[in-house]
Subunit: 160 residues, 2 copies
DNA sequence: TTTAAAATCATCCGAAAGTATGAACGCCAA
DNA sequence: TTGGCGTTCATACTTTCGGATGATTTTAAA
C-alpha cells in the first residue's frame, strides 16, 4: 500500500468546519464537566468519549481532505491493419477540440451511458458541475445531445 | 451524498492497530495524570491534546481504510482489430434479445444520436410510437437510458 | 505576484426523455 | 377464429437533460 501517498487538498472550508466542530465539542465537554463531577473514576470514560469523538472527526477530516479518486483515462485506439497512421489522431483531435482533462472524464462516462447524476457521484462533483462540463463538451464537439456526443466521440476515437 | 461510503475497505489489521494505539495512548495519559496534577486549569490543555492525538489517529485510520488513489494520465493503447469481423452484425444476439424489425430501426437511429422526434420523422411514425419502441428496447436490452442502449448495441454489434 | 484557464457550484426554466396505461389494427399460426 | 405478436397511437405524469447566467475557487503559467 502506498501508505500516506494519498494527496491532501487544502481547503479552508474543511479546516474551518473542523475547528468549529472541535471548539463546540470542547465547549460541550466543558459544560458537561461543570454539571457532573469528574473524578478519577470518571476520567477514563471522559477521555474515551473524547477519543472516540475526535477519532470520528479525524476520519471525517481525512475523508474531506483526501483528493477524490482521479480518473484514469485510457485511450484505446482501434488500429486497423491497413492504416498505420491513425495512431496520433486521437490526441490531436482532443487538443484540436480543446477538451480538458475533466471534460474527458465526463465524456467518457457519458459515452458509457451513465446519467449526469451518476457521473457526478463517480467523479465526486456536483450535478451542476457535470452539467457545466457536458454543456461545454457539446459546444466543443458541436453537437446537441449526449447521444450525438457519444457517437462523435467514438467516431473520432477520442475516448476509450 | 454517499460519496465516500463505497471507498472504505474493511481490514482487521488496521482496526487492531488502531485499537492498540488507542489503548496505549489512554494508558500513557493515565500515567501522565498520575505524575502531573490535572486540575481544572489544565484540563483544557489535556483535552486538547487528546483531541489532537485522536484526530491524527482518525486521519491515519481513514487513510488506511480508503482505497489507494489512482494516477491521472492519458494512456494511448493500440488495439488491433480485424476490420472484417468488426462490422459483422450479431444476428444471434438480436434473436436472443427478441428485438423486432422496427425496434432495430429505432435503435439504429438512436445509436446515431437522433432524438425521438427526429426518429419519428425519419420513420414516418408518431413520437408516441417511437417512445413505445424505445421503452421496449430498453426492457429487452435491460438498460435504463438511450445512451446505455447505444453503448450496449455497439458492444454487442447488433446495429449497423 | 499577477493573470488566465480550468474546475467547481447554484438556480431558473423549457425541452426531451422515459414510464404507465390503455387501445386499435393487421397478420399469422394453432 | 382466436390468441399472440408486432405495430401503431394517445394521454398523463415524472424524471432527466440542456441552455443561460453568474459566481467562487484552484491550478498553472508567465
Amino acid at each position: 500500500m502506498t501508505k500516506f501517498g494519498a494527496q491532501l487538498r487544502a481547503s479552508y472550508k474543511e479546516y474551518l468546519v473542523y475547528g468549529i466542530s472541535m471548539a463546540m465539542v470542547l465547549l460541550l465537554l466543558k459544560m458537561l464537566m461543570a454539571h457532573f463531577i469528574v473524578y478519577n473514576y470518571r476520567l477514563d470514560f471522559f477521555i474515551g468519549s473524547i477519543a472516540i469523538v475526535f477519532t470520528v472527526l479525524g476520519i471525517w477530516l481525512a475523508q474531506k481532505l483526501v483528493k477524490p479518486k482521479v480518473e484514469t483515462r485510457i485511450i484505446e485506439k482501434e488500429v486497423y491493419i491497413d492504416s498505420s497512421e491513425a495512431t496520433e489522431i486521437n490526441v490531436k483531435e482532443i487538443e484540436r477540440l480543446g477538451l480538458s482533462k475533466r471534460e474527458l472524464d465526463v465524456l467518457g462516462l457519458m459515452v458509457e451511458g451513465w446519467s449526469n447524476e451518476e457521473i457526478a457521484e463517480k467523479l465526486f462533483i456536483s450535478l451542476s458541475t457535470v452539467k457545466t462540463h457536458s454543456s461545454n463538451i457539446f459546444l466543443k464537439l458541436d453537437v446537441k445531445r449526449r447521444t450525438q456526443a457519444a457517437e462523435k466521440a467514438k467516431r473520432l476515437n477520442i475516448i476509450k
